[in-house]
């Protein structure tokens, strides 16, 4: 694993039209590894500690829920995991590559190839058909029109919207929109699927549908990380990481479902978990 760190040391972009080395090496068993990661927000007047020394490893093929109240730091973590933001201190290895020191355009490239986003409010581009929305990440990956269209149709078929490819987002239901967003997230076959409250704007039936879709994608080998505050949603996952005040308070497999809930209220275990960081297990 240490090998990954060396490989991930800052690499510049390759020649034009060629992907830089760090983009072509999908070698790490640890898809996500945070090492002593701290995020501080500088609001100008005062500095706010967003995340306090996070150590966390997520392996390839896991299905993880990140839980916490609003303000617990889970959104901050989400932004960093999604390479939208950079840690202030520490390292974030995504697929063995340290993204902490990358510039915005390098981060764009990483987001494009390695991460698929699913947002609470779907974030489809309005006045743009489902098909075009799904094509978008491939457009930024400079894929040919033919390739984009074919793959976008396959993906829409896969999420059960093959017949709605030419519909505009406002002609689709919430559940359908979220499925378009999932199809879009899968466009460039990223190793990591990041979902931020993916069911927050959906009714129960649609929520279950979406989570089942995630489960299925997980079974097919995609690493899925879901940020949520709903226990019912977290129940679909296999590992639950709980956050409070910018710290991980528990991190346990979701096999006996009650486990996590017990731990959550147990102050002693919480302290222990904080101590042990990402090593904490039930």
């Amino acid at each position: 694993m240490r090998q990954g760190k060396q490989n991930g040391e800052r690499r510049s972009f390759g020649r034009k039209g060629q992907l830089p080395d760090y983009m072509t090496e999908n070698i790490c068993e640890d898809l996500i590894r945070l090492e002593d990661m701290v995020k501080i927000y500088d609001t100008g007047v005062l500095k706010v500690l967003g995340l306090k020394r996070i150590n966390l490893t997520i392996h390839r093929g896991e299905f993880v829920a990140i839980m916490g109240q609003s303000g617990s730091g889970k959104s901050t973590l989400m932004n960093i995991l999604g390479c939208l933001d950079r840690p202030t201190i520490g390292h974030y290895y995504l697929d063995g590559v340290d993204v902490a020191a990358m510039n915005p355009d390098q981060l764009s490239l990483i987001r494009n190839r390695k991460i698929g986003f699913v947002f609470q409010s779907f974030n489809l581009i309005s006045r743009t058909s489902a098909l075009k929305n799904v094509e978008l990440p491939m457009t930024y990956a400079r894929k040919s029109k033919k390739f984009r269209e074919e793959r976008a149709r396959v993906l829409l078929e896969r999420v059960g919207l093959g017949k709605r490819a030419d519909h505009m987002p406002n002609e689709l239901s919430g559940g359908q929109r979220q499925r378009v967003a999932i199809a879009r997230a899968l466009a460039n076959e990223p190793p990591l699927l990041l979902a931020d409250e993916p069911t927050g704007n959906l009714d129960t039936a649609a929520s279950v549908e979406i989570m089942e879709l995630f489960s299925q994608l997980h079974k097919e080998g995609t690493t899925v990380v879901v940020v949520t505050h709903e226990e019912e949603i977290a129940a679909f996952t296999e590992r639950i990481i709980r956050f409070r005040d910018g710290q991980i308070v528990s991190d346990c497999p979701n096999v006996p479902r009650e486990c996590g809930e017990e731990r959550k209220t147990d102050a002693s275990v919480k302290a222990e978990a904080a101590q042990k960081g990402d090593e904490a297990l039930c």
Partner: protein
């Protein structure tokens, strides 16, 4: 990618049709006026060229310069000198007269019409197309015999005699104190374009007639200028130079003391005048393009703010700074170019309609159209740089959070 950007741009422009139209309006008016002015200029130029072709581009007037202080009587021309010039240059001169001219009242019974009389030589139709429809033109006999025969156009004939075909009819007039009877031997039809009529004035009331120059001249007369048509258009400059030198020599003057007024020079000055006009109006149009460009920048800034979230989404999906920049630049360029195309159609259409109404064939150069549309796209790019870079620099997290 470019095609994708263009599609996105069109979809964004369509999404706000009214706003896009109002934004384009500045460019439409700017480009429209440029196209209109340039095309009007080109049309006038081609019309002028047509007129000068009709009146013969090889003709020139030679006279003592107005800047010469000590003008003597000998600086003017006599008929003898005209004959000498004719002999010396021979075939190089297609036609020469001493541009003798007078005006007088022509009287036919109770009808009196103010006529202008041009004294010309019999070979005048060789250098100046005259569309004779009745009778004959003046011949050598008329000239040598100082016969009191005239040729006039249909309008003048109508004014004086009430009929077009006035061949054989007579009228009385007093030229230089000599009252006499004159006979109409030929009638021609004046061919005047509407633009020509507009600029030269259509003759509706008075009359015009050609008569032998020998009637208007006497051997001892002095004439202000020589009126010459060079035979060879290609070498006319060189010929006129030699002519001027020769005339200066027989007049014991320097060639610079004589002024040679050629139609070619006049054409040049008309073109220059039209060019100057086009420049002035072009400047005004440039200001309107500037204002239009600022309008585009303004609306692009609004658009960038409105679409902050879209920018965030695009960035989260992997759009790089440059991708967003190019997208918004494309949009403003297309917005502006659409205005340019609409302006071209507006300006060109107005000129065409105006031309049709006046019966003038209009000239709209494709080069000008291309330049105008290209320039408007450039205006779009230029004024799009600031909004687009603002869009491209947006932080993805902030942008995604934007409501």
């Amino acid at each position: 990618m470019l095609v994708e950007n263009m599609k996105m741009a069109f979809s964004a422009i369509r999404a706000n049709k009214m706003r896009s139209f109002l934004t384009m309006l500045g460019i439409i008016i700017g480009i429209g006026s440029v196209i209109a002015i340039v095309s009007i200029g080109d049309t006038m130029k081609s019309a002028f060229e047509g007129i000068y072709k009709d009146i013969g581009v090889t003709q020139a007037y030679l006279y003592i310069g107005y800047w010469v202080d000590d003008v003597r009587q000998s600086d003017y021309f006599t008929l003898d000198e005209m004959e000498r010039v004719k002999e010396v240059f021979g075939d190089e001169i297609a036609y020469i007269d001493c541009s003798s001219y007078t005006s007088a009242d022509a009287v036919n019974g109770k009808t009196t019409v103010k006529f202008s009389f041009n004294g010309i030589d019999y070979n005048y139709p060789e250098v100046q197309p005259i569309n004779l429809i009745y009778g004959r033109f003046l011949n050598e006999g008329d000239i040598l015999g100082r016969r009191k025969n005239v040729v006039m156009d249909t309008i003048s004939a109508n004014n004086l005699f009430g009929v077009e075909n006035a061949v054989g009819k007579t009228f009385r007039t007093t030229l230089y104190g000599n009252a006499d009877e004159y006979t109409v031997v030929g009638i021609y039809r004046k061919e005047q374009g509407p633009l020509q009529a507009m600029m030269m004035g259509a003759n509706t009331e008075g009359g015009e007639a050609y008569l032998p120059y020998t009637i208007l001249t006497w051997p001892n007369d002095y004439f202000y200028n020589l009126h010459i048509y060079a035979a060879d258009e290609e070498h006319m400059d060189e010929f006129y130079h030699r002519l001027k030198t020769y005339v200066a020599k027989i007049k014991d003057r320097k060639p610079e003391d004589f002024r040679l007024n050629t139609v070619k020079d006049e054409m040049g000055s008309v073109s220059g005048m039209l060019g100057g006009m086009a420049m002035a109006v072009g400047g005004i149009a440039a200001i309107s393009l500037l204002v239009g460009g600022i309008g585009i920048m303004n609306i692009m800034l609004v658009s960038v703010t409105e679409r902050t979230r879209e920018i965030g989404i695009r960035k989260s999906l992997g759009a790089r700074t440059r991708d967003v920049l190019v997208q918004f630049l494309t949009e403003s360029a297309i917005l502006s170019a659409c205005g340019g195309i609409a302006g071209t159609m507006l300006g060109g259409g107005l000129v065409k309609i105006g031309g049709m109404a006046m019966g003038i064939p209009t000239v709209i150069r494709p080069g000008v159209v291309l330049l105008a549309v290209g320039f408007s796209a450039m205006v779009g790019v230029f004024f799009g740089i600031y909004p687009a870079s603002k869009a491209a620099k947006k932080d993805p997290i902030e942008a995604l959070r934007y409501e």
